[in-house]
Symmetry: C2
């Protein structure tokens, strides 16, 4: 049994928000999608692409009477957005977000939202180096793992938000926000930062273009992500990222010494362990 939504408000009509709108429309799960943005041109583009039905510059206006509200701004802007819209949200409205860090946002909502808590943070792990409504697709969430806040104070809203993501094809996992942030620091945020450092190192070495193969392309792909999005991720997950980076620096320095000193057996063991670690993290071993 899938919930239908009368009016859906998407605040921030980019890749994630636009794809959710298209997925809900493709399954006829909504009557109207209201799109909110600061840039009228982006809204017009989203409307022309059939992603949204109504264009709003004011999120407060767009949330009045909405059944489902999805905040798709960068992480740093979510708490203030929740403060702004909360007074006009219907008591029955379901509210969620799609930001890549969850502790700051979920703790803010738990502190400020009236009971019963109708905001449940989500993190659909459907990131891409592409952004903007022009890359939105109704299939983005198919098979995509989506994390939702396991807060026991919001069991009912969690059931609804779980049904929402499942309806568009996602696999939903409920996790405590602080643990989520500690883990994604290591599976997403740190890989992203390191990919950026790898790209900078290569580009600082003169013209490396003939020497660039698929390996470099793969390792650095995420470095093409939007700077303001990643800045916000870093600022809202500082401790876990800084701790993980420090551990990574120690590991890189260890390998550097193995290389400099030509320690063959230890290098063998490092590469074998790295291979196994990847399989383990991906659930392939």
């Amino acid at each position: 049994m899938t919930q239908r939504y009368g009016a859906v408000t998407i605040i921030g009509v980019g890749l994630l928000g636009g794809s959710l709108a298209l997925a809900l429309k493709a399954r006829q799960l909504t009557d109207t999608v209201r799109g909110v943005g600061r840039n009228p041109e982006t809204l017009e583009k989203a409307a022309a692409l059939g992603i949204i039905d109504q264009e709003y510059l004011d999120p407060v206006e767009a949330c009045r009477g909405a059944d489902l509200i999805v905040v798709c701004t960068p992480a740093g802007a979510v708490p203030a957005m929740l403060d702004a819209i909360q007074p006009v949200c219907e008591a029955s409205a379901l509210v969620t977000d799609v930001a890549s860090t969850k502790a700051e946002i979920c703790e803010h909502a738990a502190r400020t939202w009236p009971a019963p808590l109708r905001f449940i943070g989500s993190h659909p792990m459907a990131g891409s180096e592409k952004f903007g409504p022009e890359h939105a697709t109704p299939t983005l969430y198919e098979g995509c793992v989506t994390i939702v806040d396991s807060n026991p104070a919001a069991a009912e809203a969690r059931g609804e938000v779980t049904a929402l993501w499942q309806a568009v094809g996602a696999r939903v996992v409920a996790i405590e926000p602080a643990l989520h942030d500690a883990l994604v620091a290591r599976t997403s945020h740190i890989p992203h930062i390191v990919a950026g450092c790898v790209a900078r190192l290569a580009a600082s070495s003169g013209d490396v273009r003939p020497m660039v193969g698929t390996g470099f392309r793969d390792v650095t792909r995420v470095a093409a992500g939007r700077p303001e999005l990643w800045r916000d991720i870093c600022l809202t997950n500082r401790k876990a990222i800084a701790e993980g980076l420090e551990a990574l620096e120690r590991d890189v320095a260890d390998v550097r010494r193995m290389v400099a000193e030509g320690r063959a057996e230890e290098l063998d063991a490092f590469f074998a362990d790295a291979q196994e670690a990847r399989g383990k993290a991906l659930g392939e071993s």
Copy 2:
């Protein structure tokens, strides 16, 4: 005008050697492919797949009377292999290799091979985390950049080796071996090591499987490569890799401090620069 080869000897019938054999056969550029390996089962597999016509356990036997000899062993084994086969190579035979590091190998050959130098080192940048003859494909080298030694002492052999790679679809670039090694340290070897460290960090954090998205998969893909191959690459390019890793460690530590201290503008600039650096390295900007 494309050269035809009577007998081609491939020493090490894995992804690279097997794909070259298939590509030459698909274009009818050889009569016979002799495959050399230490493992009779791998040779039988390669023969069953139509990659090789004759199986040899002894590289010296396989090189007698061959027109083209391609050494496809890991980098560390190439110099000793050249020493072993040189006495039986025909004066007209063209000899090359496919290892990912070039200075040690090319300097060894320049020192030990009789004039005119008929060995020209190659590095087809067609790496993959797949290996073994079962992944060989006649199209592997299509569009693939292949580096060849620019040594002026071997201009004629270089012309021939260039024609070989071009015949199977590669784009050939001639570069001085030491410069090649310094650049690939930063575009390939260091990205590989860092991908391994990223995989190890994630796997050390308990069960991260639900948190693993396409970003992690991309960043760490190369970490699935063969340990003995990458150990050899590290051991034959120690100085350039160690220097580059040290520069990378400094950059990661800088970003870590920006994160720990919440320096928003510097993080913005870092991510914007990383994006630009990737585009520059890939020749997209």
